[in-house]
């Protein structure tokens, strides 16, 4: 019974992915492009070489972070659309801590950047949780609104008070001790990908095995039963929003430590919202998010090659992503389609 369920959990997203690729191919065909060429370019670019794979992993890293962040909040039925903003907060604070010379070994400096990014993002999430517990405000609205404030405020900071020399709105370059070591020379791939995989495993253990993870699930499924069981629902909401924000903030810190090496205004390529798609495709499983994050990272990376080698607009990658989410969000439809196949087999 359990095994059967697991299988079903796998089949739906895989099928949704294929369906999305198929429908996107149809759209390309109707627009007068050759979908086979397009997919060949995307997959060859993203997977065909060591550099390609490395770049796909670079793209995947922040998406896995934001996917995990979104998922943790969702376990407590909180829709944290503020992942994007919390990512910015973590990135900014991390980048600033990275510019300070503490005269410590690089490992310590790296940890300081990571922890400060986590705490900053966590506090941003905690604020949303506090608004909800104290005033009953809907977190969907408060996170959307605070995103605007955070993103614009960080832009202001690096445009005026914290601006580094030069034409662009960005903060000072981080010290070399604050940067994550590269896994391979001449690529942007760093320890970041290892960190995010470790975090995913830790989160899985946290949710499955710890008392707090249990309480988060209980509150997520039935607040009244949780309250009856003596669980302090308000505390659980605060904690899960803090944790969600902290993971997003860590994602921001790791991004500046790996790729940007400083805080650049508006640096996020919609990683926060991309994380929602990643979590959706993974059906909110921590380990699944690693894989779905890689798939989305691959598509994003492949899109760059599409731009370089063909006339096909890169926006088609967004179409694929959007369709994946659409199909994943409609599991009943997928099941119906699969049932049709099953019935046909039975008739034969």
């Amino acid at each position: 019974m359990i095994k059967k369920n697991n299988l079903k959990n796998l089949i739906v997203p895989i099928f949704a992915l294929f369906l999305a690729l198929l429908v996107s191919a149809l759209i390309m065909l109707l627009s007068g492009y050759n979908p086979i060429t397009a997919y060949a370019v995307i997959f060859k670019g993203a997977l065909g070489s060591k550099t390609g794979i490395c770049n796909s992993l670079v793209q995947a890293t922040p998406l896995i972070f934001t996917g995990l962040a979104f998922m943790v909040a969702k376990k407590a039925t909180l829709i944290n659309l503020g992942v994007e903003g919390q990512l910015y907060v973590g990135a900014l604070v991390g980048a600033l801590v990275g510019t300070v010379d503490f005269h410590v070994p690089f490992i310590i400096h790296i940890l300081l950047v990571m922890i400060s990014g986590m705490i900053a993002g966590g506090l941003a999430g905690l604020f949303i949780g506090w608004l909800k517990v104290r005033f009953g405000s809907n977190e969907v609205i408060t996170t959307m609104m605070t995103n605007f404030i955070i993103i614009n405020f960080t832009s202001y900071l690096v445009t005026y008070p914290l601006k580094a020399e030069g034409p662009t709105a960005q903060s000072e370059r981080m010290l070399p001790t604050a940067l994550l070591p590269k896994l391979f020379a001449k690529t942007q791939l760093t320890w970041g990908i290892i960190i995010v995989v470790v975090i995913a495993i830790l989160i899985k253990i946290f949710i499955d095995k710890t008392k707090m993870g249990y309480e988060i699930k209980a509150v997520g499924h039935n607040k009244r039963a949780a309250q009856t069981a003596g669980i302090k629902v308000g505390h659980v909401i605060l904690f899960s929003m803090f944790l969600s924000g902290a993971i997003a903030g860590l994602g921001g810190a790791v991004q500046v430590m790996s790729v940007n090496r400083r805080f650049i205004a508006g640096f996020s390529a919609d990683y926060g919202f991309g994380g929602i798609s990643v979590a959706a495709l993974a059906n909110d499983s921590a380990l699944g998010i690693i894989i779905s994050g890689f798939i989305f990272g691959l598509l994003r990376n492949g899109a760059k090659y599409l731009n370089m080698t063909s006339r096909i607009p890169t926006e088609f990658v967004s179409v694929v992503q959007a369709l994946v989410v659409l199909f994943v969000a409609a599991p009943l439809m997928i099941e119906k389609i699969l049932n049709i196949f099953k019935k046909k087999k039975e008739i034969k």
């Binding site: 008392k211 249990y214 499924h221 009244r224 309250q227 069981a229 003596g230 669980i231």
Partner: protein, 505 residues
Amino acid sequence: MIRTIEMKNIIKQFPLVRAVDNVSFMIKAGEIHSLLGENGAGKTCLMKILYGMLNSEKGTIKINGKVVQIKNPKMAIDLGIGMVHQHFMLTPVMTITENIIVNNEPLYKKGLFVDYTRARKQVQELIDKYNFNIDANAYVKDLSVGEQQRVEILKAIYRGAKILILDEPTAVLTPQEVGELFTIMRQLKEAGTGIVIITHKLKETLEIADCISVLRDGKMIRHRETLENLNEKILAEMMVGREVELNIRADESNMGEPYFFVNNCNLKNDGRDILTDINFEIRKGEILGIAGIEGNGQTELIEILTGLRKATSIKIMKGEIEIKGQSSDFLRAKIGHIPEDRLDRGLIAQMTIEENFILGYHNLSQYVKHGFLNLKNSKENTLKAIRAYKIKTPNEKEVVSSLSGGNQQKVVVARVVSQNPDVLIVAQPTRGVDVGAMEYIHKQILKLKKEHKTILLISADLEEVYDLSDRIAVIYNGKINYILDKNKTNQLELGLLMTGGTLND
């Protein structure tokens, strides 16, 4: 016009169980046919097949001897079959008329627009014809549960139902409303409607039914038996397949000193008095029952006594210790709680039996160490409980929502009892569970009494309160005016007090 409906050799197979196993069943116009069986015996499943909500693997359905295909509820309705579900399917913010005409709206001549005047007239005529005693223009949200049920019945009749299936219609009703429902059922019967009533309340069956059929484990044990020579005990044994002790009585001896005290409990809400000056004490080894019609403050009292709600004033003592704080403090003080609605406060339906078994006790050292759950212990204890309570499930990892109501309730009872509470607040312990589970749960409560536990029993089922309790407090309008010794009162007198009557002595 339907004279008879025959279901022949129906088989319904689910992945793990055969819910309906080669069952034949017949209903005639103008009769009330009671379909009995334990939870999970296949009653609802069989009726859902008749109503087209489920499709059977095998078998035929004949109306007046002619074979018909019923693939969905629409086809069933067109054939004159109506079903009222346990959970109502009404839109609260719309009027009775709007709810009833939905999908059958009378239109202006050839027009697109709904003729509400005609609709209201039609609905009101039906209401008057059967003395339903409701207003066609009233909003559903303003109706009582019993009235909402009448709207559901009316909806089926409006659509032309000649055969009406009622799925546990009395489970949600007060005794008065049950009486009103039975009047309506008799009127419909007079008018030639055939009624199937799914129930596991035996007393009601004996009162209303013309004939009975009994399902057990998906098989038809008895079909169309008349009520002569039947009584509750025989019916219960047919359903369960073994001897059943129905009215398990409390043994009054063996009580200790007073142990649980509630003093001066008041609750005001928006200036209204919900509870007024409630005082009582319960001794060790005593069961104090609270009888009353639902909505007289019982829910609030339970919530206060389990730390879920703050009273305006109260003093609770357990022995020498004062109890106050939140629900976690009450649980820590060994005050166990069996909530009145298991799926609302008692269980988390989407989580597994094992996860539910530790709910509320997951802070104890047996289940948690350094913040990590002790999954070995929780699994072991859950398996023990599944065996001891005969909870029907393939394994401990099954989600609770897949269990039948009786088995769900057993999970709640097993969880609380296994923690050996000193005081037990038990609310509606057997609501919506079958006779087998009911017998088991009653025995557990009495076993706790024998172990000198202090028990408060709140139930809308007067018979249950009367049978199990040593003393009975009657709650009416948020006040307890009478606390009577069981031996010095009877159910008739209690029924009178529950509706606001007084004792003149």
